[in-house]
Subunit: 664 residues, 2 copies
């Protein structure tokens, strides 16, 4: 019996049922399989398996080709819901593309900030790709801080034009995806200056390249910023304006506007864009779940095939790597975390949907502060944990994890930017901290913080954890309470420090920054565990078989225990837990790892990720690792010739000198 077959036969739960549940039901799962099948048999899409050896130019061109072919492909499938099929196909491609910001930022910004006439002018051209746009905000010297942008758009009433200009080197637009070579338009964020006054950053639609030749227009300098750690299918670009003139109506005018005479009208509603940011961050959390699932699927499957050291005297076989405690301690909590993030993403989507509905139908924006705070922190925590998790998975795969054939290098390189974009993670955690400070201040005044921060009220609750004393160490409520206690304590301590700092006129989020980042992380851990618990309950309610619910409960306990083990100091520092509980925690954690171990392969199977998506010789469903690695190596471009690049020039004479015929 093959290694994976043996593992699968030993699973304690119905894998198919869990797979379907995670995929969102029978219909969604069937669609996913149909799309996967259709793509696997299409040479355009199936070529991606050798991707790691493509040059950057090949990666760019082939990815662009696959994207441009998506519409045709989806339509050929004659699916009832072509958009849903397209989303699955997009996920399978698993590569960023020069068109991403056209779809994800250029079009939505025109939709959201253009007035009716502007939408009518540009959107049809966008939809049929007669123009391709991107979103140019970040500058060479300015990132997260929007107010720091230097590019100016100065209104000239005499010609009714804006003059866009890059006054300094640091004002050079830098990073927009697709800007380097693909796009011929941008949304340019520039400081609007009119009638001698600077009104700060506003959005302008600017054509930058000639429609026929794709050459930059006079006054525009644009190019690619060079290769990166990953994301190289995208032509991230730079852009400079030299007093470049655009019509007045190139400014998106739905909210703010400038009259022909230069009179400025500010937007009526501030912060209208917050909702969209929450949506984007929910998406990042969902992506975190997806990429953690991807890495851990590969790592668990390979660890159940690979054997190393400590030969069993009875069989003479080396020990299964997944049976090493240190491998289990690394991988199985990551499996649990992938589930936790899955349910957290669901929680965020629900939260966003509820907010969107209540704000739209009854003008109720009251949920926004919590939504903003939670989504900021979760984006930070989940993306950082996933990035690190991918690398931890790679390391459990030993030397072979370093090969491109393993798939980790591509995953790492393409996932890494999630930690930096859409808000740098420390900056985002400080957003969560601001919300927590307000909540703490409310508690101090006898008030009750809303929603997910309500537990802060209980900070004076049990100062000693019942875990292992009056409850089992696996008690779900006591575990969650422990996380809440920690968070409440860290928030209270940071708030106390803040009061002192503010009394001195200082900025607490700068002075007490480390304490606030710790508090925000601790709060987010509570949100995640709560979402996980709610997700398990919902699964039970939705009819997931009891064996599946049981395994999810075990994973909840594993997520909670392993997190406590990793930041034990937080739980013992104030005496909430003592040395005997710490020891019991470690012993219980080891037992839970042992309980989850037999289900490990079945659990990653339930993520339902196809071989095409995984794109890994180590992670394929059949576990035929060594044949796949060997075949992969045969196909490596370096093997097109028996001699290496430069052999004739550098080595031939040297090596053949003095050897009439081979000796030895």
């Amino acid at each position: 019996m093959c290694a994976h077959c043996r593992e699968r036969a030993g699973a304690s739960f119905d894998v198919h049922a869990l797979t379907v549940y995670l995929a969102g039901g029978e219909e969604a799962w069937a669609l996913r399989q149909r799309v996967t099948q259709a793509v696997a048999n299409d040479p355009l899409y199936a070529q991606k398996t050798g991707k790691a050896d493509w040059t950057r130019a090949q990666l760019y061109e082939r990815t662009l080709e696959m994207y441009l072919g998506m519409t045709k492909k989806v339509l050929s499938m004659k699916e009832k819901d072509p958009l849903a099929a397209g989303r699955v196909l997009r996920e399978l491609l698993d590569e960023p593309c020069g068109l991403d910001l056209h779809v994800g930022m250029f079009i939505p910004t025109i939709q959201g900030q253009g007035d009716a006439e502007q939408q009518k002018q540009w959107l049809p051209l966008c939809y049929n790709l007669s123009i391709i746009g991107t979103y140019a905000q970040t500058e060479l010297g300015h990132g997260t801080y929007l107010r720091g942008l230097e590019t100016t758009a100065t209104y000239d009433a005499s010609t009714q034009e804006f003059v866009i200009h890059s006054p300094t080197l640091t004002s050079t637009k830098w990073w927009p995806g697709g800007l380097g070579k693909t796009a011929n338009h941008v949304i340019c964020m520039a400081r609007l200056v009119t009638q001698g006054k600077d009104y700060g950053p506003h959005a302008f639609v600017v054509r930058i390249r000639d429609a026929n030749t794709h050459v930059p227009l006079p006054g525009i300098a644009v190019g690619d910023i060079g290769s990166k750690l990953g994301y190289n299918a995208i032509d991230n670009g730079w852009l400079r304006f030299d007093h470049f003139r655009i019509p007045r109506r190139a400014m998106l005018m739905r909210h703010a506007s400038v009259d022909a005479d230069g009179m400025y009208h500010p937007p009526k509603v501030a912060k209208v864009a917050y909702g969209t940011m929450v949506f984007v961050r929910a998406d990042i959390v969902q992506n975190a779940a997806l990429f953690l699932k991807k890495a851990v699927t590969t790592a668990v499957r390979y660890a159940s095939v690979r054997r190393q050291s400590n030969a069993d005297p009875s069989t003479g076989k080396e020990l299964q790597v997944l049976d090493y405690p240190h491998c289990q301690r690394t991988l199985l909590p990551l499996v649990a975390t992938a589930f936790a993030f899955h349910f957290t993403a669901e929680y965020m989507r629900n939260m966003y949907t509820a907010f969107e509905k209540s704000s739209r139908t009854s003008g109720d924006f009251s949920a926004l502060p919590e939504l903003h705070a939670t989504s900021s922190g979760l984006k930070a925590l989940c993306s950082a944990r996933t990035k690190d998790g991918i690398e931890e998975c790679r390391l459990t795969s030993g030397g072979h994890g370093f090969m491109a054939a393993a798939g980790y290098s591509g995953t790492l390189g393409n996932y890494a930017p999630n930690v930096t974009y859409e808000g740098e993670n420390n900056v985002l955690l400080l957003q969560t901290a601001r919300y927590l400070l307000k909540a703490a201040q409310r508690v101090a005044k006898g008030g009750a913080p809303a929603g997910g921060a309500a537990y802060l009220l209980c900070s004076s609750a049990p100062a000693r954890s019942p875990l292992g004393k009056s409850t089992e160490m696996r008690d779900e409520h006591a575990l969650l309470d422990a996380y809440r206690h920690r968070s409440a304590r860290l928030v209270a301590e940071a708030a106390t420090a803040a009061a002192k700092t503010m009394a001195r006129g200082g900025d607490t989020f700068s002075v007490d920054q480390l304490a606030w980042i710790a508090a925000a992380n601790a709060h987010c851990a509570c949100v995640i565990l709560t979402a996980f618990q709610d997700g398990v309950r919902a699964a039970a309610k939705a009819g997931l078989p009891a064996s599946g619910v049981a395994v999810l409960r075990r994973l909840f306990v594993l997520e909670a225990l392993s997190g406590m083990d990793s930041s034990l100091g937080d739980f013992v520092e104030d005496g909430f837990m003592d040395a005997s509980q710490a020891r019991l925690l470690r012993a219980t954690l080891r037992q839970v790892l042992g309980d989850v171990r037999p289900d490990a392969v079945a659990l990653v199977d339930s993520f339902g990720l196809s071989d095409l998506f995984l794109n890994s010789c180590l992670g394929s469903y059949d576990g035929d690792v060594y044949n796949r690695l060997f075949e992969y190596a045969q196909a490596a471009p370096f093997n097109d010739s028996q001699t290496g690049p430069g052999y004739e020039r550098l080595l031939q004479t040297r090596l053949s000198k003095g050897f009439g015929k081979p000796k030895l």
Copy 2:
């Protein structure tokens, strides 16, 4: 005044004096500068700045060319010590090469295991590169565990030949550097079978490629294993033997041998190779120091140029990134760790030299167990910490850290294998654990463990840390004692668990693995702090100015405090430290970060790393980050044309349709 000038002007110590001291004295520092100068002006070597955009073939060929040119280059410099100059040049190239294993493994193995006649036959050919070899040990299915190797060398007395054979797919040799395309010989580790008996792995010298054509000889199949996460200048390869015959004397016979009739003679001294392993690991620790210095130099310099958010109302300028507490908390301890590793590498070299001398002159091998245990654990801890540290540095550089121009991607990719090769890190930590168990058993019997483990005797010493109670939180002795207490406690706990496990007939290094890995890491942290402390004392003794010694002492305290903060649970779990001490620890850490902050740029300057070595737009000495980034982008190959790859085929028609001339 430029940002870096301002920083340098504020340093509290004499940078030149510390630079010279770290470089190993005036002479060594002068040599380093001469080589750097000579290389910077040589087009062959200066070309490396654009390296991130090279194809793999270019990277392979150009790196090989630079290596092959080294001898000529060094000789042209007419240095007194050409070998020392060569080492500096090799470091500056900062790229692995297909010849590394020829120099680092093939030649040394022949020197160490070949008899006089064999050395005479092969070594001259090796020295003038008439043959190029590599070291083929690891197999597709077998890594760390030497006894698991499957390749066989079966002696055929009738022809006096060995028949080398790869009996299975998993026996395919996999990974040897330079094997893919460069080498025409290997040292093949194969199970020696003679007179019907398997004597386990032995070393054989095997020609695999024709001297004139470089084509694999009949019976040999060989190729490259494909691209990797990094290290792509090296052609790591695979190799299969199909009953390939080699002469009897191709077996290296200095220690073991096989007679013409097939009689096997085992080696007289076992484990002769341990000394070399220690030497290699000392080298890895030194490399860890070098690469951590490299990353942190770039990160600190860029953080002292880059500004972000929180504009200062008085200047309107955004805040210096290095003034953010979270940036300081990440970077400054890494500066301290780089110094710690520097002195640890020195300690290991001294330890090795002493052992080498005593074993050679008086046959005293008694230091070997500690040497082996310490070097194993230090290799693991230092390489893991460095790999993670490089990534942490990258993250403090924000989005621009993701660009190849920043230099981190190359550093990460090329450094990463250190964690896996020369012994997987968990496996190595368990080697340290074996030594610690023996030491603990000796203590339990009333004996005293030797050398660096002697502190285990003090495990029953102060159960409460005096830090912040009867001593300052910065007290060096109390800090070191805290680390020793932690280590002694973790070793004692693991040893207690081991006693129970062994009583049940279990393998403690499997059953109690996590406890042993924790104990080994804690022990290594003590060794590192001790080496750091000794290093500072030696610097003072050697006449380093007091200001330099003072800053090193601060870094020692920072290393100790930040390590405690990161694993606080270990120090508070057993009540050794309490909540008030934990709070004081964090407050003191923040003060120390503040104390070190003004010296940050000067400290990384003192590492003496040249711009050529750093190869980073963010890390250059002059801090002219934005001009460098802009120039780098201009030179990116993607900018050779205004249109991207595939434009004519994929985009032109679409984008020009319906547009007679540019609108807007």
